[in-house]
């Protein structure tokens, strides 16, 4: 497995996309820190990057990479190696390189301009979201044989989680405004990793505005150790479940 990870990793480095992605994050984060003196505002701007750019890059890059290395995978499968090992190796290599790109690109400026609790949770959210969307991309890739279709599915995932789901949530809150919605919306938020990451960050950045009746409830929940464990666990489930579904499909698939 280590060997597979190594080869895939070299392959990813050779395309130079990861280096470009790292440089982009690095330059934009540095630029934000230089433009704005308030570190909290920088974290807020970075939040937009984490919630939109990171998932998009992760999911598109992973899907394209999977199809580009289709021949390599086929070659590997001709060897006496377990399919699971190949798949897990592919996954780990891609996930690690994307996570490293994010950690270096955002982590280094954060470290230079002062490490804060909000900065750390931003890093955490970014890495988890990268993992979630890499999993989803693998799922999209194994669902179909056609590259264009797979990219379509991947983009649909991204659209769904960053836009469509929120639209649905807003409609839901609007339609049932007369009812106590706190617990239900909490459950609905858990069904979207992007929303969950956003709420975790929100509670650190915009605490005072959230202090309405609803806000107080969320703050109490996500501020408690149970809430932190719960949200972390849910995010990890979002990494693991799509990954295992993809793994199952890949193991049985007629390539």
């Amino acid at each position: 497995m280590n060997r597979i990870i190594k080869y895939v990793f070299y392959d990813i480095l050779r395309t130079r996309f990861i280096i470009f992605y790292t440089a982009l994050l690095l330059v934009s984060t540095f630029a934000m820190f230089q433009l704005d003196s308030d570190p909290n505002k920088v974290v807020m701007s970075l939040l937009n990057v984490v919630l939109m750019v990171v998932p998009l890059v992760s999911i598109v890059f992973t899907t394209i990479h999977f199809y580009n290395s289709y021949e390599f995978i086929e070659l590997m499968l001709a060897q006496p190696i377990n399919r699971r090992v190949i798949f897990i190796g592919e996954y780990l290599a891609v996930a690690m390189s994307l996570c490293m790109a994010f950690a270096v690109g955002v982590g280094i400026p954060l470290g230079i301009y002062g490490v804060s609790a909000t900065g750390m949770s931003l890093l955490f959210c970014g890495i988890i979201l990268t993992l979630v969307f890499v999993s989803l991309a693998f799922l999209a890739a194994v669902l179909t044989r056609d590259k264009a279709k797979a990219i379509g599915i991947a983009l649909l995932f991204w659209f769904y989680f960053s836009l469509i789901y929120d639209g649905f949530l807003l409609w839901f809150v609007y339609a049932f405004a007369d009812y106590p919605l706190e617990k239900i919306t909490l459950g609905l938020i858990s069904l979207n990793p992007v929303d969950l990451a956003r709420v975790i960050m929100l509670l650190q950045l915009d605490i005072s505005a959230l202090m309405g009746y609803t806000g107080a409830f969320y703050r109490q929940f996500f501020g408690s150790s149970f809430g932190i464990i719960f949200s972390t666990l849910i995010l990890f489930l979002w990494v693991i479940i799509p990954f295992f579904i993809a793994l199952r499909i890949f193991s049985k698939k007629d390539l």
């Binding site: 308030d38 929120d166 809150v173 505005a209 202090m211």
Partner: protein, 423 residues
């Protein structure tokens, strides 16, 4: 020799306090646990108006002490007056009384009477200076009194619930009072005024009170300068008053579902200038208020900087700095009767072609999503999502929900240099 020294010291204080100048020839009585006169009550009964009572350190448990003569009471090393959780300590009903350097502890708690460490009734020309109050129900309670100074006192209580505790400095129907440099912590309302007029409130520090740091009603023409209100249960609430001047105060970290930096209800013809509103759930909430001038204030890191209800009119916001607030301005109607021209908004996205440091296109400070949250509090969950960002941008381009006319015609490109601390 010793009594001569004490006499000199007492005389010096008498000399300095011009209030009691007309009785400067009064004699001095020393109250001491070791001396001839052991109790304050005894000393008061012996004293003539104009005398000075010099109270040496020790603990005095004498029940309720009533002062009905013009006396000066001065404590040495903060002698302790203990109410034993039962009684009111001083009840003053005389002009020209000075209370200084005493420590009051453990007054009684009652739900019918307002038991206080110092209660003043129908009196004038009093000085309550440099005293300490620990675990008092009400600390300083004035009613129907005037021309007095409450300066440099330290008040500290640690009640668990609102009904177990009274107000720190409680003034009812007073006139011409100076409240200066007091520190009030852990009471119900730090400073409470009702029907108090023409008074000056400066340099006080009100922190961690159960309800409001400052609370007043029907208290016209008072001036509040350089006070600090921090971490009070519901911030500061002021009501039904005209002619308020609030200058260079700090309202900080009043957090909670019903906490406000400053709540203005039915306030008219007033000035709010040079104040700093930092990290409050709501910086200013305004309801039914008119003709107030807001200038040179700083709003930073608040949830809502200003919640301006549609029942307010003719208010003018000018030269204020808004930065890092979640929502700068929120309102609940579309009728606009207030002016918000010439402020600095960090969310302004316009440009300045002629370089006069005034933005060329108007700024709409009301974000659409603040209107949505106003109607559906649960929707706050979607704040900062991509969807909301898109909706806000669309609303900025073509206003539908937000009041179209509520805009800053001349937004500043750079924050104003408001050096409020040095003024």
């Amino acid at each position: 020799m010793k009594s001569g020294h004490q006499c000199m010291k007492a005389l010096k204080i008498i000399f300095l306090s011009c209030f009691v100048a007309i009785t400067a020839y009064g004699s001095t009585i020393t109250v001491s646990k070791q001396g001839k006169i052991k109790s304050i009550k005894q000393a008061i009964s012996q004293a003539k108006p104009g005398d000075t009572l010099y109270i040496t350190s020790g603990t005095y448990k004498e029940g309720n002490i009533i002062i009905e003569k013009s006396l000066t009471l001065i404590g040495e090393n903060f002698p302790v007056l203990d109410g034993d959780h039962k009684v009111e300590i001083f009840t003053i009903h005389a002009h020209y009384v000075t209370i200084s350097g005493l420590k009051f502890i453990n007054t009684g708690i009652a739900s019918i009477n307002d038991l206080a460490a110092i209660k003043v009734l129908d009196s004038k020309w009093l000085r309550i200076t440099n005293n300490r109050f620990v675990n008092t129900f009400f600390a300083i309670h004035f009613s129907n009194s005037s021309h007095s100074w409450i300066v440099g006192n330290q008040l500290q209580s640690d009640a668990k619930a609102e009904h177990q505790i009274g107000n720190g400095i409680h003034l009812w129907k007073c006139d011409h009072i100076t409240v200066d440099n007091n520190i009030v912590k852990g009471h119900r309302d730090g400073i409470y005024f009702e029907f108090v007029t023409n008074s000056l409130i400066t340099g006080n520090y009100s922190k961690g009170n159960m309800r409001y740091g400052l609370h007043f009603m029907f208290s016209h023409n008072n001036e509040y300068r350089n006070n600090t209100f921090v971490e009070n249960g519901a911030g500061v609430a002021v009501m039904y008053t005209t002619g308020v001047k609030m200058i260079n105060n700090t309202f900080e970290h009043n957090w909670g579902s019903s906490a406000y930096g400053l709540l203005l209800k039915d306030i008219r013809d007033s000035f709010v200038s040079g104040n700093r509103f930092l990290q409050n759930s709501v910086g200013i909430l305004m309801e039914g208020s008119s003709r107030i001038q807001f200038d040179n204030n700083t709003f930073s890191e608040n949830g809502y900087a200003i919640k301006l209800q549609a029942s307010c009119d003719d208010n003018n916001f000018k030269r204020n700095n808004f930065s890092s607030n979640t929502f700068d301005l929120a309102t609940n109607g579309s009728l606009v009767l207030n002016s918000v021209n010439g402020n600095y908004w960090d969310k302004y996205e316009g440009y300045d072609l002629n370089k006069d440091s005034v933005g060329d296109i108007p700024h709409h400070p009301v974000s659409m999503y603040s209107m949505v949250v106003e109607q559906m509090p649960a929707a706050v969950l979607l704040w900062r999502s991509f969807l909301v960002l898109l909706m806000d941008k669309a609303e900025k381009a073509i206003p539908v929900m937000t009041p179209q006319n509520l805009k800053d015609e001349s937004p500043a490109m750079k924050p104003y240099d408001l050096n409020t601390k040095s003024q």
